[in-house]
């Protein structure tokens, strides 16, 4: 009887917490789209944060935050320097 099947623990937690908020859903959607956009931008080679921001139409502080998050989790690495800015490129 499928009705008596115990719920998966993650579904129990989801119910207890009231699920993902609409705000978090929108945030995650934007995050995923931005990461794809940033990775595509860096495919062409290492860039500075202002260059990345300009190409992606982002505020530079937001671009920096995402690049640093990608660096922390291994998707991006620092690749030299251009003037007063470091260059960042895709890892691997």
């Amino acid at each position: 009887m499928s009705d008596n099947k115990p719920k998966k623990p993650i579904m129990v937690l989801r119910e207890r917490c009231g699920g993902m908020s609409d705000e978090l859903k929108a945030y995650q959607k934007e995050l995923l789209a931005l990461r794809k956009q940033l990775a595509a931008t860096l495919e062409a080679g290492p860039k500075t944060v202002p260059e990345i921001a300009q190409e992606c139409g982002l505020e530079a502080d937001k671009a920096l935050w995402h690049i640093m998050a990608m660096k922390r989790y291994g998707a991006v690495a620092q690749r030299g320097q251009k003037g007063d800015y470091y260059l960042y490129g895709l890892e691997g």
């Binding site: 579904m11 989801r14 917490c17 995050l31 202002p50 920096l64 007063d84 470091y86």
Partner: protein, 438 residues
């Protein structure tokens, strides 16, 4: 998961450097100590600092062994991610209520591999890095965290279940629930630490609006090799800063924000950061605008002289307001007092030397009085500075008033000794031995 017993000799509240010192001092004397920390790791503010003044020792290199010693001491039980909710007097001692928050991870089984964190699909601003860096919804607080066990932040969880699927030890436990515990203790040591003055305290400085106006603890993280950037750059666009200003007394000695006291550490941490900044960025121009420099501790005056010799500019001046240029440079309107003129100067970054305020208020939890400045009142400030208004409850570290790390450690030791004396006076330990024997 460890079991919280019904009885301990001393409850230490707060696992920063002062709390760890108090717990270790008591543990070394043979007392059974329960140390509770509301964050996922012990270490407090100190473990997030880059280096310490005046020695420029690596802060985490000093703090981390102390954290490990505390965690592994046979007489000290450490409970992280645990809140103190109530303390009432009971007989010669106290009854304390604790709330152990769910980590959603089996602490005993977890080996701290970080696989769950890597698998988590969402990244949010990390509180430990003052929002400058990212963390996942399931995360280990920082590289030196003790315990090395993640917590799951359900407010940012996507409930995808990936963390449980990748865990090699099957220790992600979505059904974990908060646990309440009641303990009896003979004495309490409050080492609840500090916050810094809010960045919006002085509206004319726009500390909460301008990306390149940062607080000193965020600057510690920027300077740290394990910080959000791994190198020194500014938050607005990743530029390597060439010109930086520190504004002293930006959150202390200021009637307009209700904080009239001197926070005692701002001059020294600003000088330390300024010296280090010139080590990290060659030829960096760094200026401290101050009312006066207070370098009172051992070796501090010498460090001030060293900062001057290393090219840090120390200028007597009052910053009236801060504005922002189009490229996010920071423009200060400064009255240079010794030159008798008002100038506008442009900087890549500005650090507001915020003052220290209490990290925790006891209202509703324990009836200990606070002084006018918000720190715990010390009715015997001269003869027993760690005593509070409740006999048997002692305060140490910044919880009792602004102070630097050496003073916090000394005072925590004093609080530990006072707690030990209290236990002796009330024959608490004999009673504990009887309970244990049964």
């Amino acid at each position: 998961m460890s079991t919280i017993k019904e009885r301990y000799d001393v409850l230490v509240v707060g696992g920063g450097i002062a709390g760890m010192q108090a717990a270790l001092d008591l543990g070394e004397q043979g007392h059974k100590v329960l140390l509770v920390e509301r964050q996922p790791s012990i270490g407090g503010v100190m473990v997030g600092l880059n280096k310490v003044f005046p020695t420029l020792d690596c802060s985490s290199c000093i703090c981390t062994p102390r954290m490990a010693e505390t965690r592994s001491h046979p007489n000290v039980q450490v409970e992280t991610w645990t809140e103190l909710t109530k303390i009432d007097r009971k007989g010669p001692g106290f009854s304390a209520m604790l709330l152990r928050k769910p980590r959603y991870v089996d602490s005993d089984a977890c080996v701290g591999c970080g696989g769950c964190e890597l698998a988590c699909p969402i990244e949010v601003p990390h509180e430990f890095d003052y929002g400058l860096g990212a963390r996942k919804a399931i995360y280990i607080e920082h590289a030196n965290a003790i315990p090395q066990v993640p917590v799951l932040d359900t407010a940012n969880c996507t409930f995808c279940g990936k963390c449980a699927r990748v865990c090699p030890k099957d220790c992600v436990d979505y059904l974990q629930e908060a646990q309440q515990a009641r303990v009896e203790v003979g004495s309490v040591v409050l080492t609840t630490g500090l916050n810094i003055t809010p960045m919006d305290a002085k509206k004319e400085y726009h500390g909460d609006e301008f990306a390149n106006v940062v607080n000193p603890l965020a600057m510690e993280r920027i300077q740290s090799s394990d910080g959000p950037y791994g190198t020194v750059i500014r938050p607005s666009d990743g530029k390597i800063p060439r010109k930086i200003a520190y504004i002293q007394c930006a959150g202390s000695r200021d009637k307009s924000i209700g904080i009239t006291y001197c926070s005692r550490v701002c001059c020294m941490y600003a000088l330390k950061q300024a010296v280090l900044m010139r080590h990290y960025v060659h030829d960096l121009d760094v200026t401290l605008f101050h009312m006066d420099i207070r370098a009172f501790g051992k070796g501090y005056e010498q460090f001030y002289r060293r900062a001057l010799a290393e090219g840090v500019k120390v200028v007597k001046g009052k910053v009236a307001k801060i504005s922002q240029a189009e490229n996010k440079d920071v423009i200060l309107r400064v009255e240079r007092l010794e030159e008798g003129r008002v100038v506008e100067e442009r900087f890549d970054m500005v650090v507001l030397s915020q003052g220290l305020v209490p990290g925790w208020h006891a209202a509703g939890v324990v009836d200990v009085d606070e002084a006018d400045d918000g720190f715990f009142a010390a009715p015997q400030a001269k003869l027993q500075p760690c005593a509070t208004t409740i006999p048997g409850v002692f305060a140490g570290g910044v919880a009792a008033g602004p102070k630097d790390i050496p003073d916090a450690i000394v005072e925590a030791g004093d609080a530990a000794m006072a707690a030990a004396n209290w236990l002796q006076k009330n024959n608490w330990c004999d009673a504990t031995d009887e309970v244990t024997a049964k």
